[in-house]
Amino acid sequence: MPYYPETTVIQGLARVIRERRLPPQSIPRLTPGTLVGSHVEAVGVVLQGDLLRDYRILDVAAAFRLRRSEADQGAELIQVSEGQRVQLGQELARRGRGRRGKVLSSPVEGLVVRIEGSLIFIQVSERALEVLAKMPGEIEVVESHKVKITSNGAVLQCAWGNGRYSYSVFKFVPEDGFVGLSKLDPRISDYRGVVIVSPQPLNKGDLMVAQQQEAAGVVAPSMSSNLREFAMQLTFPVMLTEGFGRRRPSPLIYRLLADNVKRQAAFDAVIPDPWSWDRPEIVIPLPAGGVLPPTPALDRALKVGARVLVTRAPWEGLIGEVVELPESPQVVDSGLRVPSARVRLSNERVGLVPLANLELLG
């Protein structure tokens, strides 16, 4: 019976296709330079828009103190129409002319969404939005709320991120770790503006050192979950490749990072959401060398010979190769009888792992 596991993409060179979107409730604006076939830089803006939130109701009749019998006239005094953008202080309605005329000005910047009698409904502009390309590449598709960008490079999907983004050079933490880093003068430190990669779990002190050194980000296998709130307040990306607690680093990820050290990379520390597509990931742009690299496959059935990542104890983080797929469920270390695979792990040991705890390497 075929089994379709989740896929984690860890590839040295792949064709990367990513969508960038505006929230559905935002109003898109024309973004100069966002054209099909054009090249974008990682920090280039590909989509612009306004995020609208709350509504304001303005009663023209009440504002001009019209008598009840005159209330119907309020509608005639309105100077704006539905669908019109208004600026803060812009004239919405006027009664009378000249210096003695009265004006109702917009108390907010926003969009007139409805006019009903003498009532004007304005949806307030909460903030302007700018969506970055997040990786250098070529724009393939442009729609009102989304663009599709393609690029070539190494891709490493991670377990958790703090919601920040950075496009920067990355380096491994010095041998004496963050303690050694703390002794450097931030003004002349090589780590200033650089994403720091550590193969050791993080603690709060490490994050504070990274902050003090004005690092552009931190990548590590894991940290205690009680540091989440602190990490979310930092302005630079914090990315965990494995998860929370003290997790061992996945050798494949750190080898790939070591092979590309001092290159620029996109660190997109998306906060994982079980109901969305997005996963935190590192994209290291690389030249394809004239040959179009493959796009990671995401819907393959598990087969003997497949390379897999073990996601749970006792071998979490280890990469292995499926050597056998027993027909019937097997009793595994936890005592559960579940569909399982025999996996030859990177330490040459063959272990029985529940299928649910395996992810295919894309």
Binding site: E6, Y55, R228, S334, A356, N357
Partner: protein, 618 residues
């Protein structure tokens, strides 16, 4: 529509982690569960299409029984109708996968219509974003922002009796109309109207130009009359509509399914309605479902289903929320090893990152099972007031049977552990019948009951559930270590198993599943079952054997320093490995199995004792 020609049903249940399929067909004039299978749910990206998971599960059934189910035709998912031993007459779907539906609730009075509205919603996977009623002190601007800021998927309007005043409710509907008219981008919420029937046409005309308006019977047709079921049926249609608009390919499944995609718990509620009608002891059935993102309890109390769904409690997608709700300290009570609070949080955060994974070590399994126990306890505590049954604060009314669903409860390492999880979490008293529903058959049959009730009745009678067995759980306490239960189990071949179960212990009589035995239990002073100290019952043994739980009720948790030993003893006992456990933990030799297996005593002696009511243990 008549469904007399329909003989076979394929019911798919799409959960957040697992997609289950059950095939029910007519065998020798009776509907039975033929086969079931499970696959990973494929609602989430990158696959993003639930029909793939259903396809995988159907392939699994085909490989089990050789019956082809999947259609090669691109415009149908399954081969319908059944022909030549392949295919199926009808496919229906239930689902709990995905984000819960956000609902804004509008009603006339907080004490009456709003409460009925909330009760009605409690049977589905919803989150109430906010409430609006006439005595709301917010300005109109604030009220409109309240309606729209929660980005509801549905607006429920309830209120007014069928002959009651209508102006105020109409005024509220106009506020809703004004709010809907302002939505220019994003998702337009559907409206479900279940209020004063005199306003149906007006509300539909008023709101229908903006969105889909569903109309149901009034949840409060008269002040003292609450009718939730018709509105729940309509809510299921709204849910199907919502799901079909959500990503994941639910629209396709909704088209193939005869009833759209019905919320899984709606199936449970419907099934419990039927189970309540079946003859049996106790006040009615109890269904517990602990899932990855949602957990639900549906109780049949005096022939009426009572239900509670928590869309923030689960052992996968909502593991962190569940730990927040139950607290790590309560979890630690169920762990026979020291687990630091920080480690428990780390574990739940990791589980939430990968909710489809299973525990990799025995310790991890115990953590998840501890969480499941506490989720069930929380559900019972919150649902109990609505049952309105007078038992002690800590005690469970006499529900029979108790049915558990959700992989954490149904797929433990041993049936005995599943039984213990239920006994620990629910702490039932008396004679308790425990069932497992690993295929979500109860929900499936509940939905099929909408179409052909006879299928539901016959499939339940044919025993589609896993019979875990019967547990005897005395009420009361005596000092630990004293003789609590004197048990005699008479096997069909005349052999008798005898055992004295000490206070604080569990004993499982190793009887093969499906064997009917006569059980006699004599209890020590201070303990009772059904108010008596001596009972005699004929019961059928289940997968976990026959369980005699002499730990007392309410259950007193072992002190931390004893926890490891006691939990290990209990676990070993329910798995039928009591002897080894005892020998590891106690020096005192136990009688061998040969000592326990003795010649049958004449039945008349027992009957005589029962009649005289002599205290056997004092």
């Amino acid at each position: 529509m008549a469904f007399e020609h329909v003989n076979s049903f394929l019911v798919g249940d799409i959960g957040n982690v697992h997609t289950r399929l059950v095939l029910i067909d007519l065998v020798e004039g009776q509907y039975r569960l033929i086969a079931s299978a499970r696959a990973h749910t494929t609602a989430q990206p990158p696959l993003g299409n639930v029909s793939l998971g259903l396809d995988h599960a159907a392939q699994n059934i085909t490989s089990l029984i050789g019956r082809e189910l999947v259609s090669e035709d691109s415009d149908q998912l399954f081969l319908t109708p059944e022909s030549g031993g392949h295919g199926v007459d009808m496919f229906v779907a239930t689902g709990s996968a995905g984000r819960p539906m956000r609902v804004f609730l509008v009603g006339l009075t907080p004490e009456v219509s709003i409460i009925s509205g909330r009760r009605m919603l409690a049977g589905s996977y919803v989150t109430v974003t906010d409430v609006l009623c006439p005595d709301d002190l917010r300005s109109e601007e604030e009220q409109i922002n309240a309606i729209l800021s929660g980005e509801p998927d549905m607006i429920l309007i309830v209120g007014g009796t069928d002959e009651g005043a209508d102006d105020i409710l109409l005024d509220l509907a106009q506020k809703v109309e004004r709010a809907l008219s302002l939505i220019k981008r994003g998702t337009m919420p559907s409206v479900l109207f279940a209020g004063n029937k005199a306003l149906r046409r007006q509300v539909k005309e008023l709101l229908g130009e903006h969105t889909s308006v569903f109309v149901a019977k009034n949840v409060r047709p008269a002040f003292g009359d609450e009718q939730l079921f018709p509105a729940q049926i309509e809510l299921a249609l709204v849910y199907d509509d919502y799901r079909s608009k959500s990503p994941g390919g639910f629209d396709e499944i909704g088209r193939y399914s005869q009833v759209g995609v019905v919320p899984t718990t709606q199936g449970y509620i419907s099934a419990v309605r039927y189970l309540c009608e079946l003859p049996g002891r106790g006040i009615g059935p109890l269904c517990i479902d602990v899932g990855s993102a949602n957990s639900a309890i549906v109780a049949g109390v005096h022939r009426e289903p009572h239900y509670l769904i928590r869309t923030d409690l689960g052992v996968g997608h909502n593991a962190v929320g569940a730990l927040q709700a139950v607290t790590p300290e309560k979890l630690q009570r169920w762990l026979p090893f020291d687990a630091a609070v920080d480690d428990l949080w780390d574990y739940m955060y990791n589980k939430q990152l990968r909710p489809g994974t299973v525990p990799g070590t025995p310790e991890e399994l115990m953590v998840e099972q501890a969480l499941a126990r506490e989720i069930v306890r929380l559900l019972v505590a919150e649902a109990r007031p609505a049952w309105n049954v007078a038992v002690g604060d800590e005690l469970l009314p006499e529900f029979r049977p108790i049915i558990a669903a959700g992989a954490i409860l149904t797929e433990a390492q041993h049936p005995g552990i599943s039984a213990m999880l239920l006994l620990d979490a629910l702490q039932p008293t008396g004679q308790v019948e425990l069932r497992l529903d690993p295929h979500n058959l109860v929900s499936a049959l509940g939905v099929v009951a909408y179409l052909r009730p006879i299928v539901t009745v016959q499939a339940f009678e044919a025993g589609g559930l896993v019979n875990l067995g019967t547990a005897f759980c005395p009420l009361g306490h005596i000092r630990r270590g004293r003789d609590a239960m004197r048990v005699q189990v008479r096997l069909p071949d005349g052999q008798v198993l005898k055992r004295i179960v000490r206070s604080g212990d569990i004993w499982v009589a190793s009887v093969l599943p499906g064997v009917t035995v006569d059980v006699t239990v004599r209890l020590a002073r201070g303990l009772t079952i059904d108010g008596r100290r001596r009972i005699r019952r004929r019961v059928v043994s289940g997968a976990a054997g026959l369980i005699f739980d002499a730990r007392g009720r309410p259950l007193i948790m072992p002190r931390p320093k004893e926890r490891a030993v006691r939990f290990t003893e209990w676990q070993m006992a329910v798995m039928g490995r009591e002897r080894r456990a005892r020998l590891e933990t106690e020096a005192e030799p136990l009688p061998s199995m040969d000592d326990l297996l003795v010649e049958a005593e004449p039945l008349s002696d027992l009957e005589q004792e029962q009649e005289t009511g002599d205290a056997v243990l004092s």
